[in-house]
């Protein structure tokens, strides 16, 4: 849930990027960090293994400035996607206001995508939140993959059950930035609508 500090006139929202290992969560935050104006972003904090896999989380604070007199801050996090870190994901997800679920468009990653989304549903529910009402945006990342391994959007919709959940869905190539801001706008709007 978002935090509204009336005396300090501040609003804080926490957004978490969730998804299977290597799907491109960290790359999303790196791109955002490289593009937003200096006065908006804080330092990107990454706690990673030597091989650049996320070990704990990445953290990027964004300061949107004053909106109707309220200093508004969005804190973006990524979880570590590797199966091993299930409990760490629970910890990072704690207190989040919305989730970007990053799915890997590689045909061979469909089962991993599905497992990760199921786990997310479980973890959200365990935090006493209704999954169906929880703000979620789906990103189909790596749309630049060669045709042989690229899953069609219809296939992914089918596997992930996206259409029946009514989640906004964005196609992306996080390495070049395509769709990254569209995703961020969509989740920000979804979170704001629940404030």
């Amino acid at each position: 849930m978002a935090l509204i500090n009336v005396a300090a006139r501040e609003i804080h929202c926490k957004i978490v990027y969730y998804g299977p290992g290597m799907c491109g969560k960290t790359t999303n935050l790196q791109y955002i960090h490289s593009q937003v104006p200096k006065d908006v972003k804080g330092d990107l904090l990454s706690i990673a293994t030597e091989t650049e896999r996320t070990l704990f989380f990445d953290f990027l604070p964004l300061d949107l400035g004053k909106v109707r007199g309220f200093q508004t801050r969005f804190h973006l996090y990524t979880v570590p996607g590797q199966v091993l870190y299930e409990r760490t994901r629970v910890a990072v997800l704690n207190g989040s206001d919305g989730v970007v679920f990053v799915a890997d468009s590689n045909k061979n990653k469909m089962q991993e995508n599905v497992n990760s989304l199921k786990e997310l549903a479980q973890n959200v529910t365990r935090q006493n939140k209704k999954f169906a009402e929880f703000p979620i945006v789906i990103q189909y990342n790596k749309r630049d993959l060669p045709r042989e391994v690229l899953a069609s959007v219809q296939t992914m919709d089918h596997f992930l059950g996206v259409t029946k959940m009514n989640w906004p869905r964005v196609e992306a190539v996080a390495t070049t930035g395509t769709g990254v801001f569209e995703t961020l706008r969509a989740i920000s709007r979804a979170v704001i609508s629940k404030l």
């Binding site: 300090a8 704990f56 109707r68 409990r87 910890a91």
Partner: protein, 164 residues
């Protein structure tokens, strides 16, 4: 709407009480810093000597560390895991949970005894728990706080800042 999704609103009066409580805790223990965090890692209030530039990152890390040690506790089937202590060479950190919602964090050096910190933190968490209770009780409409046009302005800001 799902009550878990609605915002926590900290009103001016309650923030004043939180500030007082943290100032007293820092003075009485001789600590360097006291921080009150939301469980999401956001800093609600901080008191101590000087401005820390790194306070936002500190909040995110401490909340993360605390949330993961609670997961460890669950795996150990430890039910009441409400505080943790980290000992450094110069600085120590004591962290205590308030009603599953807030995290109180005290940073102190070797001039302060951990026993004193524990006792006074216990007192402070009780006090803060009743503040939190009042924060939860108040049913002020969000629109009253934010103004009805807030959402539209927010959407405009999002579109302006988050673009390629």
């Amino acid at each position: 709407m799902d009550p878990q999704l609605t915002s926590i609103i900290v009103p001016t009066e309650e923030l004043g009480q939180i500030e007082e409580c943290l100032v007293r805790l820092v003075e009485d223990t001789g600590s360097d810093y006291a921080l009150l965090l939301d469980k999401s890692g956001q800093v609600i209030c901080s008191k101590g000597d000087g401005d820390r530039q790194d306070i936002t990152a500190l909040g995110a890390l401490i909340a993360g560390v605390f949330a993961s040690s609670r997961e460890v506790a669950k795996l150990l089937r430890e039910r009441d895991f409400r505080a943790s202590f980290q000992q450094g060479v110069r600085e120590n950190i004591f962290i205590a949970l308030i009603e599953e919602q807030w995290i109180l964090c005290i940073i102190f050096n070797k001039g302060t005894h951990i026993g004193l910190v524990k006792v006074l933190t216990k007192k402070a968490t009780d006090e803060l728990a009743s503040v939190l209770e009042r924060v939860r009780q108040q049913h002020k409409a969000r629109d009253e706080v934010l103004g009805s046009s807030f959402r539209t302005s927010m959407e405009d800001t999002i579109d302006l800042l988050f673009r390629d």
